[in-house]
């Protein structure tokens, strides 16, 4: 533990992972700062899980460099004892019950909070004595969420942790995460495609598409970065001019166009030109941006 250095929690440089001819992670370079909630966003198959497996030392990189707490995470207990990785497809030993998971968790996590875990068991109404293989999908997910929260690891990955959890349980997860993070700051990487649900929790956003990091930006500036303009096609096109257009819809003589980075003056001008301005949610933005790069990819391929 003495070897753990302060500074960036994760530093990744030129990270690439190939499976045969498929490049799952493509030359990724980014850092993850301490005590921040990150969203790792992207479509299914974009490379989110592979990236997290590499960051937690569960897979070997084809090339590039990974530092977690300043060291390589591969077979490195000094690093991994501070890392909690909650996977969508977590497997448990045959005949395991939830109580067995909660009893063994403190062996792996020095910050394990048994009282907090017990409270979460109540919150999620988890049957402790039921065999895990007899549990519903949502109950199995709840075990992962509870372990991820109560482990209070310095670095926690949640990889689509909510499969089968209903809307109420997901809200409980977000609320407990936020409250506990406020009390016990730590680094959390939340991988999800339910972007609208978690949008307000995130401080920083990483978007991965086709294995490449295409957005690495703080959530606040990202949220305000795009605007949708709606009006007559001629008014819209007149205003948009040579701007980069993320998305365009047209119906009859009307057009709806999503553009990046409007200044306050430009917004006033657009309104004066008779255009309606609508905000673009983080989810819509990610959808537009990942579609765009897909098209670029098809053109260049």
């Amino acid at each position: 533990m003495t070897a753990i250095i302060e500074g960036s929690v994760i530093e990744v440089r030129g990270l690439t992972k190939r499976f045969g001819t498929v490049t799952a992670v493509d030359d990724a370079t980014f850092t993850v700062e301490e005590n921040t909630i990150y969203g790792l966003l992207g479509r299914n198959g974009a490379g989110k899980t592979t990236l997290m497996q590499l960051l937690t030392g569960q897979d070997f990189a084809t090339s590039g460099d990974i530092r977690v707490f300043g060291q390589s995470p591969v077979e490195n207990a000094a690093v991994l004892q501070h890392v909690s990785f909650i996977k969508e497809s977590q497997r448990y030993p045959e005949d395991f019950r939830a109580k067995h998971v909660l009893k063994s968790a403190p062996w792996f996590f020095e910050n394990w909070d048994a009282d907090f875990a017990a409270q979460l068991v109540d919150d999620f109404r988890l049957p402790l004595n039921r065999r895990i293989k007899k549990m519903s999908r949502g109950q199995v997910s709840a075990i992962g969420v509870i372990v991820g929260l109560a482990s209070r690891a310095r670095l926690t990955f949640f990889d689509e942790p909510y499969l089968g959890l209903d809307a109420v349980a997901r809200q409980t997860f977000y609320d407990r995460l936020l409250a506990d993070y406020a009390e016990h700051p730590r680094t959390v990487v939340l991988s999800t495609h339910l972007i609208d649900e978690v949008s307000n929790l995130l401080e920083h956003v990483l978007v991965i598409d086709e294995g490449r990091i295409i957005i690495d930006q703080d959530a606040e500036s990202l949220r305000g970065s795009a605007t949708t303009l709606v009006g007559t096609a001629s008014a819209v096109d007149g205003f948009v001019g040579a701007r980069e257009v993320l998305h365009r819809d047209a119906i009859g003589g009307l057009a709806s166009v999503t553009v990046l980075g409007l200044t306050a003056q430009e917004r006033t001008d657009a309104a004066a030109a008779g255009l309606e301005l609508a905000p673009v949610s983080l989810q819509q933005l990610v959808i537009h941006r990942t579609n765009t790069s897909e098209k670029e990819f098809e053109v260049s391929a």
């Binding site: 993070y181 606040e220 949220r223 905000p279």
Partner: protein
Amino acid sequence: MDESRPLFVQLAEQIENDIISGVMAEETQVPSINEFAAFYRINPATALKGVTMLVDEGALYKKRGIGMFVAEGAQARLTTKRRDKFSTEFVTPLLTEAAKIGITSEQLADMIRKAAKA
């Protein structure tokens, strides 16, 4: 919270509303950053940004080791600020919409007078 403006701005406006309406009285303590974050379901860093904005404007002030308080005179200052912005935020859009559907300023003034009486 909606998507139209930055979350920290919306939080700051919400606190301003509570100060203007007197829900948060001057010289009383306001909730902590973590309480704001939990209540509005936003990241604590975002909540901090919103509260810091109000501290910079002098609407809130920090008592070391105790917490954040509403400043003396904040209610009057914020009310004045809102009045100054009233024209651009409410009157201008009203006139724009009225012009779009052919309502003159006189007709509009008439409608306002009638609605105020009702």
